[in-house]
């Protein structure tokens, strides 16, 4: 172990990808996957902030039963824009475009992604989509819900539906390009010895996510296009009077958008697999099961979309099929949860900040997934559909799951990304604040929803107030919890302790190069002779360590 623990002294002065070049141009025209990851990190953080502001207004309005703070039409826009921004401009790109971009080449021992220019292009496309969407918000906003259901969106809504749709349409292409880049890179650019079954599970998760991005995103693009056609020219695709069908919109929309929930959560599962194995210092239990369950989720995730249409006049026979398939898709997720738990067993666990997020993920994702099964049961869904129960369900998965994984990963790889350590005490503290704030925000929503509080209204019957007060209180704790890491991560870029190459003492390839890495990632092509998560010290690791030693 020693041999590669100490092979590289920490040094911010050494040439690395951050100080290799200076000036705005060197960033805006970079083809370095690590710099592009940082460009994405900045932009998604911006959108997270905007989305968070909208959330604040939602929770303030719902503090009292009366619709007193926002008019109902304004409220409609606020929750719509919260959803659009958080889903399409934060969560979908979050892990793949930042951590994935940064780490996929590093973890497989490559110099960059397969198509560095396309990678940069994807960021510009994302920005363009973001700018169009911001235009839609400033021009007057959109009020259809992030789901854009016809016929409201095609015929009745008096808001900037097409502009908002166009923003999503455009940003979808950045997602496709990222997925394409990952697939080609993982196929063709693995270092010698990096066989498929030596890949870190983070890579498997990104491979699966990329499949979903490529196969799903074109469908939502076409759907938005059809919606725009229908709105402008009334061609009759979704209008029964002209031979169309409004439920067709829901079919097409959810054909993408259910798999899209896996675009959000699969990369997070990849992060959690890394964290659980590495912070228990144990090989993951059932590597192949965890790897293939990612692929299974990606494929079977495409077969369940009809569970969003149970009360939308979908045929009850289709409902039965979709209900059955939805129960089936929970199996691969459960495999992961069980294997993570089994990995912990007799592991030598440390409770650093990333691990706190990973453990949080397991619990919260389980709650989210299990309530998904409630919803996938035909009869129960009739009762809770369109209530706050749904809102609680998907926030448990998208915040408790996807976002927790993102934050855990960001802390875990922060020394590699920035070359500095984050303050561990603050890290653990804010992880706890976020955990408490999150549960206080969303647990009461399950109850309110089950008791019948509908979603998407600015006013509600007074008997639900207690749950909403709890929820709004939780949201303010959660908000503070998010601000703390934002502050100390920025702070640490300048004042944090210098990070070693391998601060956690782990075998992965990304830890066998300097922190932060040089522009070309590795000074010589690494040769992989060990399995993923092989914690025993082996001769071959020293060989790798040696060429690093020589370089220093």
């Amino acid at each position: 172990m020693k041999a590669f623990e100490t092979f590289e002294t920490p040094s911010a002065a050494r040439v690395n990808y951050i100080n290799a070049e200076y000036g705005l141009k060197s960033w805006l025209l970079t083809r370095d996957h690590k710099r592009i990851a940082l460009l994405y990190l900045g932009s998604i953080s911006f959108f997270f902030f905007i989305g968070g502001l909208y959330a604040m207004f939602i929770r303030l309005e719902l503090l009292t039963p009366q619709g007193d703070l926002l008019a109902s039409t304004t409220y409609n826009k606020v929750f719509t824009q919260h959803g659009i921004i958080m889903i399409f401009f934060f969560l979908i790109p979050s892990i793949p475009a930042t951590l994935g971009n940064f780490l996929v080449p590093l973890m497989i021992g490559a110099k960059d992604l397969a198509f560095p220019r396309i990678n940069l292009l994807s960021w510009y496309i994302y920005l363009l989509g973001g700018i169009i969407t911001i235009y839609a918000l400033l021009a007057g906003g959109v009020d259809t819900g992030w789901t854009f259901y016809a016929p409201y969106s095609t015929t009745f809504s008096n808001s900037y539906v097409i502009a908002a749709g166009l923003g999503i349409f455009v940003s979808g292409f950045s997602s496709i390009l990222t997925g394409l880049n990952f697939i080609v890179t993982i196929h063709t650019m693995r270092a010698p010895g990096m066989t498929w079954f030596r890949l870190p599970l983070f890579i498997w998760a990104h491979y699966a996510t990329s499949l979903v991005m490529i196969l799903g995103t074109p469908v939502v693009a076409i759907t938005i296009l059809l919606l725009a056609f229908e709105r402008v020219a009334h061609v009759g695709i979704f209008d029964p009077a002209a031979g169309g069908d409004p439920v067709l919109f829901q079919h097409l929309f959810w054909f993408y958008s259910h798999p899209a929930v896996y675009i959000m959560v699969l990369p997070s599962m990849g992060v959690v697999s890394e964290l659980i194995a590495n912070f228990s210092r144990k090989n993951i239990f059932g590597y192949k099961f965890v790897a293939f369950s990612s692929l299974a989720i990606a494929v079977f995730g495409f077969l369940v979309w009809g569970h969003h249409l149970f009360v939308a006049s979908q045929s009850v026979y289709a409902g039965m099929i979709f209900s059955f398939l939805s129960f089936a898709v929970a199996i691969p997720s459960a495999i992961k949860v069980f294997n993570w738990t089994a990995t912990l067993y007799k592991g030598s666990i440390s409770y650093d900040t990333p691990m706190l997020y990973a453990l949080g993920f397991i619990g919260l994702f389980t709650v989210g997934g299990m309530t998904g099964l409630f919803l996938a049961a035909l009869a129960v869904d009739v009762h809770v559909s369109d209530t706050y129960f749904i809102v609680a369900h998907f926030h448990y998965i998208m915040v408790g799951g996807a976002l927790f994984g993102y934050l855990g990963g960001l802390h875990y790889w922060w020394p590699k990304i920035s070359g500095r350590m984050y303050p561990e005490g603050w890290g653990r503290f804010s992880a706890l604040v976020i955990f408490v704030g999150f549960n206080l925000t969303f647990l009461p929503q399950f109850v309110a929803g089950y008791l019948g509080m509908p979603r998407r209204y600015h006013a509600y019957p007074p008997e639900f107030q207690v749950f909403n007060v709890l929820s709004s209180a939780g949201a303010s704790i959660l908000g503070v919890g998010f601000l703390i890491p934002m502050i100390y991560l920025v702070w640490s870029m300048r004042y944090g302790k210098l990070a070693e190459a391998n601060p956690w003492h782990l075998p992965g390839l990304e830890w066998r190069t300097a922190s932060p890495p040089p522009t070309e990632n590795f000074l010589a092509t690494p040769v992989v002779t060990w399995e993923a998560y092989e914690f025993a010290p082996v001769e071959e690791m020293r060989v790798i360590g040696k060429f690093r030693d020589e370089e220093v």
Binding site: L303, L309, A318
Partner: protein, 98 residues
């Protein structure tokens, strides 16, 4: 994966075939066929045209097996989209309440 040079003649022929397809679509659209034939005719022409574009303009016909795998999986996903959507449309009236 050798680059296949397609002769101009092929492109022109395909282009003309697509124009004929477009003309047929317009003509069929002006005529009311009995029963479901309207949809069937329109979709048949469209599928033939799309196939020509994919095979020739997108060069799939001359491409490696890998491209075929990629293309077929996209097609398979389209089949999923249609099959499960029609599991809704075709069974809506199985219940007497329709």
């Amino acid at each position: 994966m050798s680059e296949h040079i397609v002769q101009l003649k092929v492109y022109v022929t395909i282009f003309l075939a697509l124009l004929v397809g477009t003309a047929l679509t317009v003509m069929a659209g002006l005529h009311d066929f009995p029963g479901k034939l309207n949809v069937i005719i329109a979709l048949t022409i469209a599928v033939v045209k799309a196939t020509l574009v994919v095979l020739y303009f997108m060069h799939v016909r001359y491409s490696s097996r890998l491209i075929w795998v990629v293309f077929t999986s996209a097609l398979f996903w389209l089949v999923i989209l249609f099959a499960l959507t029609f599991s809704d449309y075709w069974t809506r009236c199985w219940l007497p309440v329709c």
